[in-house]
């Protein structure tokens, strides 16, 4: 019951706010620089919606592996104090796995364009 009321209140609020902004807010004018897609402040090189080349995805995925890797390592670095043996083993195993992966994709030529 409580959940249902929550849901109703949320929906009603969202609807009311967007309706109010539609009715009361100024009409935005979409022209000039304001109409351009925002991409780190640089003028875009391609039309929005164009696909990057296929190996871009491969690099993106591989990048995520190392990104996540860092996310796991960070707490270990900043936690201070002396790490115990179990943690050391776990992290070595983890880094070993990531290293193995890197070596494997390298060997398979996945890092070439």
């Amino acid at each position: 019951m409580g959940l249902a009321i929550d849901l109703l209140v949320v929906l009603a609020l969202v609807a009311a706010l967007s309706l109010a902004s539609r009715l009361l807010g100024p009409r935005p004018r979409m022209e000039g620089d304001k109409g351009m897609p925002y991409e780190t402040g640089m003028p875009p090189l391609a039309q929005p919606g164009a696909h990057p080349w296929a190996s871009y995805y491969r690099f993106a995925v591989l990048f995520v592996i190392f990104d996540v890797d860092l996310a796991f390592l960070a707490p270990w670095l900043v936690q201070g104090g002396r790490p115990d043996a179990g943690m050391l083993v776990a992290l070595t195993a983890f880094l070993g796995l990531v290293g193995f992966t890197l070596a494997y994709v390298w060997r398979k030529g996945a890092l070439e364009c």
Binding site: M1, L3, A90, L97, F100, A103, Y104, R107, K108
Partner: protein, 444 residues
């Protein structure tokens, strides 16, 4: 940390992981790896499964891994000996199932689910470069991701209402928590192709080779059933899953059997047949209790033999359409006979194992005081015989076509042996299991 995520004594689980790494490591060799990767994968998985099985009881954990590995073996055995990618993929899929089996924590459960599913999408997409195959793989991938998303959403909801991710605690009867389990239940129901989450199934099975389809319909369904059982045990015996699941199961069976009646592709007939059996498993999971657990395990072992047997006959005979079966009894009498055994077993006709499996579900449904479920089972037994009888009729009663079907590439010599093992296994389980298994002990 580990003991929180997975059940105690996870060493065999590591063995599964090491197997995957070892298979990948063969990729470093300069020469073409030959059959090494395949052999390592098969050996590693079998050893890991043997290490993890507990002869006392299958329980809800490691005892299931031999089932998963057994379902993967035909695929491994029939792989062409090139490359380490396919063996590595299937080994990691089985690793995912093993993680599922060990999981006591929702994170581990999710990890296992994804580790099991992602290699499947890739394996399916690698089947051929045809548009059809890619379409099927993409469909499978997207709908699988949807199911995973629902699972995550359920996880979040559960955390909100209980403050914990552990599976061992009782789930409160609050609506949010119950809704969370229903959302999480969508993931295994999707893997089992329950109605209405079955739309990906015919395409995927049609695009897959028989041995991959066999893996998808035995091991993957077993993992789905295990996950469903874990969730329904977590929910307790009085939750409303105990009537949602039987209803979903009955609907799944009925829809699958009706759709199977009018198919021309053997892959699709068997796909719907596996969906119907999955419906039976869902119904069984909904009857609740320890009995459902043991009965599901026995059902899955029997189903493994009969289903894998049927797919392997397709491989052995190079059969794709139902009409390809014509004259099979004249062309290859022994293969036709084995075909009859596995099909009659799938139809649940004594003395095959399929009959005992069906009987168990009837018993469980009636013991759980659900006569309507028993009525649905009876009706579906009849519907299913409608198309199984057609499969037998085409193979035995119809005359051979004037010109023999185009000569297929000769299947590996191992295929007939595997078919024999499966058919005899299905028959043997039907003769031996009823007398050996004390059914009434489960029905407490």
């Amino acid at each position: 940390m580990t003991s929180l995520l997975v059940a105690p004594n996870p060493l065999p689980l590591l063995a599964f992981g090491v197997t995957v790494l070892a298979v990948l490591a063969t990729g470093f060799a300069r020469r073409r790896p030959g059959a090494t990767a395949r052999t390592i994968a098969a050996t590693g998985l079998v050893v890991a499964a043997a290490r993890s099985c507990d002869p006392g009881a299958m329980g809800l954990g490691a005892g299931w891994t031999p089932l998963f590995v057994a379902g993967a073996l035909p695929f491994l055995a029939l792989l062409p000996s090139a490359g380490e990618v396919a063996p590595a993929l299937i080994a990691s899929s089985v690793l995912g199932m093993a993680v599922l089996a060990w999981a006591r924590h929702l994170f581990a459960l999710f990890l296992g689910l994804e580790l099991m599913s992602l290699p499947l999408y890739l394996l399916l997409a690698r089947q051929s470069r045809e548009r059809r195959t890619l379409e099927a793989a993409l469909k499978y991938f997207f709908s699988g991701s949807l199911a995973a998303g629902l699972f995550l959403m359920g996880m979040a909801l559960l955390y909100v209402s209980t403050g914990s991710f552990s599976l061992d605690q009782a789930v409160p009867a609050r609506p949010a928590a119950q809704l969370a389990l229903v959302l999480m239940g969508c993931a295994p129901l999707f893997k089992l192709a329950a109605f209405p989450l079955h739309f990906w199934l015919p395409d995927a099975y049609d695009a897959a080779s028989p041995e991959l389809a066999s893996f998808m319909s035995t091991s993957v369904k077993a993992a789905g059933a295990l996950m469903l059982l874990k969730l329904s045990v977590a929910l307790g015996p009085d939750s409303y899953l105990t009537w949602i699941l039987p209803a979903v199961g009955a609907a799944t069976m009925t829809v699958a059997n009706l759709l199977a009646l009018r198919q021309d592709s053997l892959h699709r007939v068997l796909a719907y047949s596996s969906m119907a059996h999955a419906g039976t498993l869902i119904l069984l999971a909904g009857t609740g209790g320890e009995g459902a657990l043991s009965a599901t395990a026995v059902y899955l072992w029997i189903y493994l033999f009969m289903n894998a047997g049927a797919w392997l006959v397709l491989r052995a005979g190079g059969l794709r359409r139902v009409s390809d079966l014509r004259g099979l009894s004249a062309r290859r009498p022994i293969l036709a006979l084995l075909w009859a055994v596995v099909i009659l077993s799938l139809a649940g006709i004594p003395p095959t194992g399929g009959f005992f499996a069906k009987l168990l579900v009837f018993l469980a449904a009636l013991q759980a005081d659900k006569p309507w479920a028993a009525a649905a089972l009876a009706l579906n037994g009849l519907l299913a015989l409608g198309y199984y009888a057609r499969l037998v009729r085409e193979a035995f009663l119809e005359a051979a076509p004037k010109e023999a079907p185009a000569a297929e590439t000769e299947p590996p010599r191992l295929v007939p042996i595997l078919v024999c093992v499966c058919a005899l296994g299905a028959l043997w389980l039907g003769l031996w299991a009823p007398a050996a298994v004390g059914v009434e002990a489960w029905l407490k």
